[in-house]
Every structure is written in structure tokens, then in C-alpha cells.
Symmetry: C2
Subunit: 161 residues, 2 copies
């Protein structure tokens, strides 16, 4: 498992904050993502990004997917056999611990405040949410993404063992 990348792509094109994007690059490498989609690939030249992500160029392959092309990208990946998932609290979201992840998945993260726009929600195969037990129901988007990627990884390891 160490040798090959896992068959998921994380879409972080909707995120604005550099620390979240750089942190996700680090987390994607730890869990060996096949790709990390960002709105602007020149972000790797940003000093703050480099500070947090360190040696980002050796890490997970960055894919440039501007916000205006997210839907096209997701439809293309769906044709390639990926399940297209979103991490979002909606009326139909499946709690993370009740969801069996497909091996091939694209996981879309929402904007820091507004989450995933409704036109993108509509083309997702499913939405997954992290059960939140407290009064304040808002995890940081990097943390949420990391928890979902861990749960995916845990399930894949279980299937392989």
C-alpha cells in the first residue's frame, strides 16, 4: 500500500484559505491521494503555502481545476468510473460512519463558510457528513477533509486485510 497511491482525488478548488489548502496538500500526501484539485496551481509559489506544505512539489499531484470548470471535471471523472461525493451537511447526507466508500472516489470539499454550492450538490452521487455532537456544528474544512480521508483509508485497509 505504501508504494501506490490510493484511488481518490480530493477537490479543494472551492477553498480560499492558504493554510487550509497547504494543510490539505500535506494530509493528501500522508494518505497518498492520486490528486489534489485546486483552483489555481500557482498556489505552490505562495510563501505561506510553501511554509506549511514544505516540498509540496514532491507531494501529491496537483490538478488545476478552476471553480468555473468544477462541474465539467466532475462529470469527466464520473465517466471514468469515479463516484463523485461531497462532504457536506444536507438533508440527505449519510453519516460518515454509515457510509461504505467506493474504492474510486472524487471527494469535493465546500467553501470555508458557504459549503458546496447547490448546483454542484446536484451532480454529486452522495453527500457525507461527519456526525457532530456538540452545540457548535462546524469543523474546520481541513480537519473535516482529513477525517473523511482517514475513514476512507481505514475502510480500504480493512478490505485489504
Amino acid at each position: 500500500m505504501r508504494a501506490s497511491r490510493q484511488d481518490f482525488i480530493l477537490v479543494a478548488s472551492l477553498l480560499d484559505r492558504i493554510p487550509n489548502l497547504a494543510g490539505l496538500a500535506r494530509t493528501c500526501e500522508v494518505f497518498k491521494a492520486s490528486g489534489l484539485a485546486v483552483a489555481d496551481a500557482s498556489i505552490v509559489n505562495d510563501k505561506q503555502f510553501q511554509l506549511i506544505s514544505v516540498t509540496a512539489e514532491k507531494w501529491v499531484p496537483l490538478i488545476e481545476v478552476p471553480v468555473s470548470t468544477i462541474k465539467v471535471f466532475l462529470r469527466k471523472k464520473k465517466q471514468e468510473g469515479y463516484s463523485i461525493l461531497g462532504l457536506e451537511q444536507t438533508a440527505n447526507s449519510v453519516p460518515l460512519d454509515q457510509y461504505a466508500f467506493p474504492k474510486k472516489m472524487v471527494l469535493v470539499l465546500g467553501r470555508e463558510k458557504e459549503g458546496i454550492p447547490v448546483d454542484i450538490i446536484h451532480i454529486l452521487d452522495a453527500c457525507i457528513e461527519i456526525p457532530q455532537l456538540g452545540v457548535v456544528r462546524s469543523l474546520n474544512v481541513h480537519v473535516s477533509g482529513a477525517i473523511a480521508l482517514w475513514e476512507y483509508t481505514r475502510q480500504q485497509r480493512l478490505l485489504q486485510s
Copy 2:
């Protein structure tokens, strides 16, 4: 489960960075920790802390545990029936997906760079590590803690269902 707190305490006294501490306060509230131990409780007056944690005073109960008293605190909690665990990569660490969490636990996080000092490692009941598949084997400490707390929560929910 929404009504009562989960029976774990997170010890973040070794952490220095305000964004990590404030983020962990938020994450502890989401997973309803019984307590979050920090080295200096006056941190809640820090502007950056407040900005990230928002309404921190309504959140998880803060416990002041200065670094010099961590071992005393952990021994006291052990006497109260808590398992004392660390999140750290050591020769004897158990991978997170192979560890069955006890209901009553105290989880110790390490310093941002150096991890958990060896004298504290020695009084832990177990060390748990997050399996890391990539070349860069270093998750952010807030992210690591959040993943461990999610895994604990997932297991408790499974036992209750």
C-alpha cells in the same frame, strides 16, 4: 448522545501554537469532550484564539494543566479509572485502526515538532499512531488529534448502535 459529554479528556498542554489550540477547542466541542487540558487557561483571552474558536467559553471545559504538572495530572486520572493514551509514533505504537478505545480515556498530544517527551511516554498505558502512507510522515497535530477523536467517537457510536 447529543445531551451528554463523551468520557474523554484531551491533553494539549504540550502544544504551543494558538491556531492548533483554538482549533482543538472547536474540534473537542464537536465531539463533546469532557475536558481540554491546556498549559495556560488564560489563552481564551488571546485574540487569535478567540477568532478561531469563537464563543470558546461556552465550549468544552478547559482544564489548566501546566507542563510541569502533566505527569501528576495523568497519574490522578489513571487512579480515577481513565486509560492514559498518547498519540505518537513509537516502536510500540498501535495503528489507529487496530486499537479498540476504552470508553474512559485521556489522550495526550505531543509538541508540534518534538512530539511527546520520553518521560511522559513512560507513564502512558498505550501509544496510538495514525498509519501514514506517504513519504512525508507528518500530519498537523490538530488534524491528528481530530482523526483520533473521530475514531474514538466512531467506535463509541458503533457500541451504542
